[in-house]
Point group: C2
Chain length 473, copies 2
Amino acid sequence: IAKEVAKLLEMKAQLGGDEGKHKFVLKTPKGTRDYSPKQMAIRERVFNAIITCFKRHGAEVIDTPVFELKETLTGKYGEDSKLIYDLKDQGGELLSLRYDLTVPFARYLAMNKITNIKRYHIAKVYRRDNPAMTRGRYREFYQCDFDIAGQFDPMIPDAECLKIVHEILSDLQLGDFLIKVNDRRILDGMFAVCGVPDSKFRTICSSVDKLDKMPWEEVRSEMVGEKGLSPEAADHIGEYVQLHGGLDLIEQLLQDPKLSQNKLAKEGLGDMKLLFEYLTLFGITGKISFDLSLARGLDYYTGVIFEAVLLQPENDHVEEPVSVGSVAGGGRYDGLVGMFDPKGRKVPCVGVSIGIERIFSILEQRASEEKIRTTETQVLVASAQKKLLEERLKLISELWNAGIKAEVLYKKNPKLLNQLQYCEDTGIPLVAIVGEQELKDGVVKLRVVATREEVNVRRESLVEEIRMRTSRP
Amino acid sequence: IAKEVAKLLEMKAQLGGDEGKHKFVLKTPKGTRDYSPKQMAIRERVFNAIITCFKRHGAEVIDTPVFELKETLTGKYGEDSKLIYDLKDQGGELLSLRYDLTVPFARYLAMNKITNIKRYHIAKVYRRDNPAMTRGRYREFYQCDFDIAGQFDPMIPDAECLKIVHEILSDLQLGDFLIKVNDRRILDGMFAVCGVPDSKFRTICSSVDKLDKMPWEEVRSEMVGEKGLSPEAADHIGEYVQLHGGLDLIEQLLQDPKLSQNKLAKEGLGDMKLLFEYLTLFGITGKISFDLSLARGLDYYTGVIFEAVLLQPENDHVEEPVSVGSVAGGGRYDGLVGMFDPKGRKVPCVGVSIGIERIFSILEQRASEEKIRTTETQVLVASAQKKLLEERLKLISELWNAGIKAEVLYKKNPKLLNQLQYCEDTGIPLVAIVGEQELKDGVVKLRVVATREEVNVRRESLVEEIRMRTSRP
């Protein structure tokens, strides 16, 4: 009976599906959005700033397919694997949409036996999350990654990644920011000396990761209550994770009687010291904080980890500025490429991902009042009288061939007022007006929209005149 | 028994799948590819040329999600619907990867009640085809679309689309090309006067569409044999479809005793005449051919259709140059947006899609011998002696902050020879060398890689000197 019911339900569902063809639901899939021309203009501006920075640091660019073999993604994201979008089995290979750009990058390196590359990759990734879209989180969103792969002297590429974050966040003028830095080896060493059993390192690490959203008391009770950590160990961790500072803190911890006895922690602290020396040479330590509460979610990190947060303007009564969310993050992952290599050959990597969607949200909100041009048109080719479509088309063709960005209204006899209004609406700065008299005289009337100034320009000088008047100051 | 066998086979497959986790198959999914830095450099060059043209014509840009609700794509692509990639039903909405950019564009217009826009959209689309990858066809590939939507005076936007194809193909210097033009109304009128029954219009149209790949005799036998058309009707079509020419042919057909009696054909021919007048004003008729054999596959076209083909260089004994494949195509589709509007309100559209993948293939092949730079680095910061890492990092930080594109080797004590070799390999034109003596003197030694010329530049003038020496001629 159950089988029959299932069959009937399936048939009903199919019929329902057929009916659906006729009444379209006009929407984009849940968690996705279209980008309007105005949003695209903002997006392009942000991408340009970021790409300029990546290129300034000598990065190449690659691209990978939007889907990967399902098995390529398997076992890379821990619990989050349930958020991966799978494609329907339509025969052939089993495929999934990429979840980030790091795993495809590692696959690319292993597949092409590349042991040395500095590349960026800007592309969309997919997560079946239940995102709060008002907070600028989506199921389809851009990632913007810069990574350095290769065997190098310690902490030089790591320092460059932090310099890049510093440059981009400064360029974009999003307000004050802070880059928190830690090291997985210091965290693991700390867990060890606090008495956390090895088997609990990862789960306790993910509790620590919640400290930016929860007070310590709640995190502690999760550790002790849910995860069965001893209260002493938890309290011990609690002392460490409230520490943050700079070189002085590193020195202090290098003297810490327990931590300095732990091999991993000592290695991590030594490298952290070196990192701070390089960051001092780069002149950016003012916005860097060595922060023992920074843990980062992903499993694959093996060394330095970091995260940049925007700071709210200080209130009168608040001592320290409050963070309003992460806008960049990254770290070192020396083991990931080896997971793809048939012989397990490792390629050490360090990289940074710019949280472009949150940056868009901030800039979009700011731009909501601003008037943003969505085209770059320099001149509208217009006519004052009727029957001049042919002359307008001849002139605009000359302008296009000379590389001038020009538009014309697609009407045989548009009113001059409508043509001028179009310029006002879309921000076109100049109008080239042809009329009977101008044609006879071999000139074009060039009108500046903002000032209403009009000058007759000889036709052979028009291109030069438009260029001059629209070149950036 | 069959059921049990199926169950066992499935279990075996699952086990195989689990084993598979450990021996990774290192590949991209069938029909897809990674883009290497060199390929990306070519791709960027092509995109820049195309985007520059689209912007010259005043286009805005939009973006849409990579997947749509499955029902959005349903019933838009006729037989080709079987090539659509569906996502797995993981709960929630049923989704499919976009098959082209035109249907999402129409959905976007209807959803946002936009009746007037000129936009471009460059993005990847997905088709579960069995592509011949050597011929530059993939399951994941870029489309590069420019469309004009809105109610305008006839043929002005249509003419602009052809001007755009002409500009882009000229810019990219792919060799000689020809843009074939026809009109769905002329085709339908022709079918009517040839005695094709209404019900066979679409299927006979798709036979005609094969004329670029098959000789007429084969197409004719498909029409008569497979599709049951009368031999007389087929022969009649055969006379028309060999016609191609310009304004003179249009005039001739306007006088054609049968065709001129058909309302649709007359409308189409009248508009074709107008189109050629505009194309004459644009000065591009030399590369345009009104060709009655052009049919185009997609169902949604309603008016002008066109397709650009590259021509092989003429052989001695061949009278006409042979086409080597389509690199752009498009047409008018006045009904598509109405399919999405709840009240069926129409928004007339005309657009063009640049066949970017075939263009990549051609340019990639050409570039296989060329040396193409994949970075834009202007200068390598180097040192001649040991223990100067700190000085190199200080200097490169100054350069980055001044906007200079600079790299440094990630080694404490690299050999000068290796640093110079790196410049040779990657095409970096300048080396800024710090040494003990230079530091004392407050200078940097600037070396031109190509000529080996070396000059001492005062540190405060270094940025200006690098800019001057690397500005484009």
